[in-house]
């Protein structure tokens, strides 16, 4: 269903009507600005290109994980500290599926490799989507509107999930090998681009595109955007925001499962604590982006990943600190994040 209503009479004088608000491009410029700024610090052009592409790949993975979380907060003010559980469970489920499909992952055929990855991802997303549904019912629903309890209870859920992973898969570090055709790098001159990073960028862009399309072009998307702004009014117009929220929660959990799968493949290893490593960056991203803003989340993910990769090379000791610094700087510029969501 499209959201554009075009009565003939309205279209007739479209020309003297204002067409859309001036878009706010400033935050977008931060991405090239940061890249340019990093160039002299990194020094070497081919290293700079490699780092920038690594940052884009990492940024896309963070975005995939963070997009659902920011909408979950925007719609119902729910602080879900258990989101990391979906990252880990997704990665483990994918690992299990890939393990049983070794014939496909080790075959020298890109098609078979991708088919195995596709199946593993599907399984991971189904499992984390279902887990998200149960998590929302059992853990989140009883504490709607109570932030302190949400933090405690969802953190508890995260701990329980990590322990369950220990029970099911064991506590040791697991290998997460890349399928044959995705290993290694493409070399262009003296620039090396790891194949998997290209795939991660592609997946992230597709996820962003689909989310943007749903938010801008469907009635469900319209309701989500309106609900993030003013949940009460959406209800007073006759819609069940809670049902919408469950849907967003489930999709967000499934995306975290997808992100966790990519993240584990990127590092080629995983433990039950895999979610914890990335979730700190995820929270920085949704604060930088503006709580509830998917566009802000997208740009925030790229900025945070760039910061992590450039400083990881230039001054590895301050990599995380640099991102906290980035967050502080952005919040000093825009206290509500890059793209603040209008709240009533």
């Amino acid at each position: 269903m499209t959201t554009t209503v075009a009565p003939a009479a309205v279209d007739a004088d479209k020309d003297d009507a204002l067409k859309g608000a001036p878009r706010d491009w400033l935050p977008l410029l931060l991405v090239p600005a940061l890249a340019v700024l990093a160039y002299p610090l990194v020094g070497n052009p081919s290293t700079w290109v490699t780092l920038t592409i690594a940052a884009l790949a990492m940024g896309m993975m963070i975005f995939v994980i963070a997009s659902g979380l920011t909408l979950v907060f925007g719609l119902m003010d729910v602080l879900n500290f258990g989101h990391g559980a979906f990252i880990a469970v997704g990665a483990y489920v994918a690992m299990t599926v890939l393990g049983t499909l070794q014939g496909w992952t080790q075959a020298p055929s890109l098609a078979l490799n991708l088919a195995a990855l596709g199946l593993a991802t599907l399984a991971a997303m189904t499992a984390t989507g279902a887990l998200g549904w149960a998590f929302e019912r059992v853990i989140v629903r009883p504490v709607y509107g109570r932030h302190l309890e949400q933090i405690l209870v969802t953190t508890g859920g995260l701990i329980v999930a990590e322990q369950l992973i220990h029970v099911i898969w064991g506590g040791d570090q697991k290998p997460m090998p890349l399928p044959t055709a995705l290993r290694g790098a493409i070399t262009l001159g003296d620039i090396n681009i790891e194949k998997f990073r290209l795939l991660a960028v592609l997946v992230g862009l597709v996820v962003f595109g689909v989310i943007a399309l749903v938010l801008q072009r469907t009635k469900i998307g319209l309701l989500i955007r309106a609900g993030v702004e003013n949940r009460e009014m959406v209800e007073a117009l006759g819609y069940r925001v809670r049902r919408l929220f469950v849907g967003v929660f489930v999709v967000g959990s499934a995306l975290a499962g997808l992100g966790g799968t990519l993240w584990a493949l990127y590092r080629e290893t995983l433990t039950a604590a895999i979610g914890g490593d990335v979730i700190v960056l995820v929270f920085i991203v949704i604060i930088i982006g503006g709580l509830g803003s998917v566009g802000g989340c997208f740009i925030g993910s790229i900025l945070v990943a760039m910061m992590a990769n450039y400083t990881g090379y230039v001054a590895p000791k301050v990599a995380l600190a640099s991102n906290i610094l980035l967050m502080v700087a952005i919040l000093m510029w825009r206290p509500q994040g890059l793209y603040p969501v209008a709240k009533r």
Partner: protein
Amino acid sequence: MPDALLTLAGVHTHIGQYHILQGVDFGVPRGGVTVLLGRNGAGKTTTMRTIMGLNPPSRGQITFDGATISGLTPHAIARSGVAYVPEQMGVFADLTVAENMTLAALAGPPDTARLEWIFSFFPALKKFWRSPAGVLSGGQKQMLAIARAVIEPRALLLIDEPTKGIAPAIIDNMIGAFEELKQQATTILLVEQNFHFASSLGDTVAVMDDGRIVHAGSMAALATDTTLQSRLLGLSLDAHG
């Protein structure tokens, strides 16, 4: 109350630990305009929100068209035929005017003829159709909030202070729109401080103070009785007219 579309009986509402509505009783006759008056903080907005299910009553009963609606969720109350224009307007700033209207139309895409009828009172909405509602002025947002509530015929309109900060010319357009809605058998419950507006539209009136109804009767009687006006509402309201 003979043939009331909406009835509140002994309605109490708490917000947190505050006891705001303390036994509200009144009826809104079918097909007319009932004006809810009262000084600032009397509980008018809370009454509207309680009817809408946004601040559910802790005690008492609300019936609408023969059915009990107290205890229902806001979306169920809306679907049963109640439209609400909140005091803060509740316009979605990030959505375009068109998108705001699309959400308000529950039966499908907004009806073109109905839209033209709305534009005849509020031409600004047509001009800014594709613009985000956030760029509208305060008065234009109020027009949009009202337009959303009337995009499809509803049995009952709850409208909280529509004239706040609105230019006189637009107030006259609003009166025109509400007059026509009345003829279309829409019942209206209106919170209003502008006595000119209230008395030119209102059929019946209920006056609140401290979370209770302190007077209910016909608008005609109140409009002509300045002693009653000054007793119930403090200042003489003629000044506005």
